[in-house]
């Protein structure tokens, strides 16, 4: 807590013809031993004007610092020390020095008329001053406060909480958050974890319910959000100062595709104590075909392929379909579709008719077949050739719940598919207001990869652009992270109302996007310690440095040490484990006897069916399903996902 103390000036504004005070910038000097530094917030009190009460008050943030002595030229120091640096330090008198600081104006009071900063005394900003300087007084207090703690501003031995405005972080006024920083410091992930916890604890009740969907794209980063992590006293004090309870997320739902064997989960959260919480993410043909565009690269995008995929979706999928060669097909899985393709090729070959089938050229059919079979091969485990799917709980999202989709070990094509489908489904449900929550934060790391500033136009990039530009109206909020902000599509980063910067690479700081920052700010950014961030927010007229406590969850690296992933289980054991998770009464030997000499595909299908139906007697259901061919769930009638606009430079 900042103690009340008699304000003692720590500096004084100075202005010369060459360095004048302006309405946006001023200079002040302090004692050499001052505690303030780059990023400190200060208050200037102008002299009283007659009996009109206190003078103008200006808040500013220190953006640059200078030190110099009265030495006329360096040569004079050499002469004075007779060329011996050791003697220079022995001079009986220390030269007069100055600590001169440049500060950018955050706020003036009164705000009109806007005038140059008065040549007044400079004070360290108190808690209340920081709130005023950052205009937080408008949204932290009041009948319906919307402040979300983001960290502590620390300077000159003082700490003050800094809040983001939920209306500008999560919509509808502005939305989205972007965080940049070098890899390997765990700052970006930690910051997002901390901020999500803060949002869950402080999201205003009048704004409804909120959930988060996090894509784990590398390592075990987000695999232990429900486990408490170590905190030290400083962290706990910061939590208390921010009005937050340091605790792991109470409700986390994990989803991960299976491995190629269809029974072991493709995630690092496979420790026996934890794997029970992980739901398999398995999609079938219907789920994939909706987003077939994701699978097509730039060269593939043509009207013919599009038309054929549309044809398959509209006329073939889940319908009785006559192939024109006497065969009838009901396509519900990749296996069924491949059967249809084979029938078409055989039919055309045997009939010798032509290269056209129902106005589609055989080359187009082969290309589409190739792409679709490619995904079922490359993403085996996520995409099932046959059998039912297992998806996120669309329509049943719960308040203050984190949904983690672990795609870290999935083929990039599969990752694209997961992003595209999950986000499109979110959009679809949020538009219909039937997701279960009013707002969803989508956390995507590695934006350099998924929304690059250059390179081919991809469906994922279009989708991220779409969220960036229109998501705030829906409650679909993108939290994106990347190493090099300059290499992310400028409209993705430009639409982020709130921006965080961790430690930055010097080369990145040399790019044009950072020219607005002073050299001192850049140096500070290049050397930021873990746990400190530079923050831009619509209410703050200048970037602010904040410290945040370690998230109260187990870090990925620590998690895999404490809960080492178990080795892949043999097929039988993996099936047993999954069934036992559904029904603890099941004895392993019962399952092993049941699946002995059964085909693995049959077992997988039966297991998926049990998982989907979640019967009271899982073993009986499993036994029953083993005997029949399990059809994929009939695809529910769904509204088509509105097409995304093609990428253009025009955002409107």
């Amino acid at each position: 807590m900042i103690q009340h103390r008699e304000p003692t000036p720590i500096g004084r504004v100075v202005a010369t013809e060459l360095k004048p005070a302006t309405p946006h910038q001023f200079h002040f000097w302090t004692a050499n031993e001052t505690t303030i530094g780059i990023g400190a917030i200060v208050k200037v009190e102008g002299p009283r004007v007659g009996d009109q009460g206190p003078g103008r008050i200006v808040f500013g943030v220190v953006t640059d610092g200078f030190a110099y002595s009265d030495l006329a030229t360096p040569l004079h120091d050499v002469v004075g020390a007779e060329g011996d640096p050791a003697k220079a330090a022995e001079s009986p008198t220390v030269r007069q020095e100055i600590r001169l600081w440049t500060a950018a104006v955050l706020r003036q009071h009164p705000e009109e008329p806007l005038q140059p900063v008065p040549l007044g005394a400079v004070y360290v900003a108190s808690d209340a001053d920081v709130a005023q300087a950052l205009r937080m007084d408008a949204y932290v207090a009041g009948a319906q406060p919307t402040g979300i703690p983001v960290g502590l501003y620390t300077a000159a031995g003082l700490e003050a909480p800094v809040y983001l405005d939920a209306d500008f972080l999560l919509g509808p006024e502005a939305a989205h958050l972007n965080i940049s920083g070098v890899s390997g410091l765990a700052t970006k992930t930690s910051a997002v974890e901390f901020l999500l916890a803060s949002i869950f604890q402080h999201f205003p009740a009048h704004k409804g319910r909120i959930a988060a969907l996090c894509f784990n794209v590398k390592g075990p980063d987000l695999c232990f959000l429900d486990r408490p992590g170590p905190l030290d006293d400083a962290d706990r004090r910061r939590y208390e100062r921010l009005g937050l309870t340091p605790q792991p997320f109470a409700r986390v739902r994990y989803y991960a595709p299976c491995k190629a064997d269809g029974v072991n989960l493709n995630t690092l959260r496979t420790h026996p104590d934890l794997v029970g919480d992980v739901e398999p993410l398995v999609w079938g043909l219907a789920e994939v075909l909706d987003f077939a565009e994701v699978l097509l690269n730039r060269d593939d995008i043509d009207a013919k392929a599009d038309a054929f995929i549309d044809f398959l979706s509209d006329r073939v999928l889940n319908k009785e379909f006559d192939d024109g060669f006497g065969g009838s097909h009901r396509v519900q899985s990749f296996a069924d579709l491949d059967g249809l393709f084979r029938a078409i090729f055989d039919g055309l070959e045997l009939s010798g008719r032509s290269d056209m089938w129902r106005t589609h050229h055989i080359a187009t059919i082969r290309k589409v077949r190739n792409r679709l079979s490619n995904i079922s091969t490359r993403c085996k485990g996520l995409v099932t050739d046959d059998g039912p799917s297992n998806d996120l709980p669309w329509g049943r999202f719960e308040d203050r719940t984190v949904y983690v989709v672990d795609v870290a070990n999935v083929d990039p094509l599969g990752q694209d598919l997961v992003f595209a489908r999950a986000v499109s489904k979110l959009r679809e449900h949020l538009e219909r207001r039937d997701l279960g929550v009013e707002a969803v934060v989508v956390f995507v790391d590695e934006l350099n990869k998924y929304a690059p500033g250059d390179g081919p136009e991809t469906y994922v990039r279009k989708m991220l652009l779409d969220i960036s530009e229109r998501g705030r109206y829906l409650g679909l909020v993108l939290f994106g992270a990347e190493q090099f902000r300059s290499q992310v599509h400028r409209r993705v980063v430009g639409n982020a109302g709130t921006t965080l910067f961790g430690r930055m690479d010097a080369d990145e700081l040399a790019t044009p996007g950072y020219h607005v920052l002073s050299p001192a700010i850049k140096i500070k950014l290049a050397t930021l310690p873990i746990g400190e961030l530079m923050l831009r927010h619509p209410h703050f007229t200048q970037p602010i440095f904040v410290r945040f406590p370690r998230p109260a969850v187990l870090r990925g690296r620590d998690g895999v040490e404490r809960f080492p992933p178990s080795a892949d289980l043999p097929f039988e054991e993996a099936v047993v484990r999954q069934l036992v998770r559904l029904d603890r009464r099941i004895r392993p030997n019962q399952v092993k006897d049941l699946i002995a000499e059964r085909r693995p595909d049959d077992v997988r299908r039966a297991l998926a069916a049990v998982r989907r139906t979640r019967p009271d007697d899982a073993l009986a259901c499993f036994r029953r399903m083993l005997g029949v061919r399990v059809a994929p769930a009939a695809a529910p009638a769904r509204e088509a996902v509105p097409p995304l606009n093609p990428i253009s430079e025009e955002p409107y």
Binding site: L71, K87, A88, S91, V94
Partner: protein, 329 residues
Amino acid sequence: MAGSWVDAILAAGAVPASYVPDASAGRTDLEEFTGADLVEDAELRTRSVADARPLSPGAVGFLDGIEQWRVVGYGGVTPIVRGYVAAAVRRRGPDRRLRTGSELSRELAVTRLASLAAPVRRALETCGVDVVEFAAEDAGQPARAIQAARRELERARLALERALAERCLAGLGPDEWLVVDGVLSDSVALSAHPRAVGVIKSHGAQYFEGAELERALTLPAGHRTSVFEPRSRGARRAIYSWYLRFWPWEGNDLLYGLVRVEARAHPDTLARASALSAWLERERSPLSTPDARWDRLLYPIHDVETYLRSRAPRDLLSPPGSRLPRTGS
């Protein structure tokens, strides 16, 4: 205060003026042969201070003063000068940083009251400013009057410095010295104090002739002369003195880097003249540039001047623009 009395005399009929004469030449030394008695050697010798162990006092006060002035009006042809004199002691402790110990300042009007018209005179007498008058014989020709005013101001500054020095001596710690920019012999207290030393940069007074003069003025760098006692002149008290060269003069000027040191007329001074000299030689670093007198000006004294000038009234400085008549109205 300044504005009020200047406004008052202008309102009383004085013609406004704004003229800052050339900067003060600083404290003047006597410009005559006075002679000296050697107290260290039979004849004036030069001694290296390289091997002497420098005195290293725990704390040192450095005293200097400034004067600034401006002709603010004329009563007939008699100038009315607004003057400002100030002195300060900046103290250096173990952290080697200089901090202000004490300071005095005074604002005064310098003129010849009898030469002014009655309303102007009355305005000056009643507005509360200290009025110092120059002699009646200087009141005629303005150029002479201005020089007389400058001398009065210098006297006022010296008096202020003396008063401050004597006040400072009273509070001087047992291991604390006072270094004065100028002579000690003007003050009884200063000239008798065991830990006061004066450093004189101007060399108007001549104490030797012939070979001894040449030896004194061609002193090599890092050397001092024998200690001598200047012969008494007027009110000046007995003092011991010697020359000390900070920087080689060859290639520059005979007086380049040459100072004269004054200390108490006492056998102890004789015993530690070399230690004192070695200490003062150390004080040449850091250089007091960009002051033109840096070769003789100790940095702490330069610092006192800088401090005093930063606190002096800004309207006494020369205006940066030209003195061409103002156009328009």
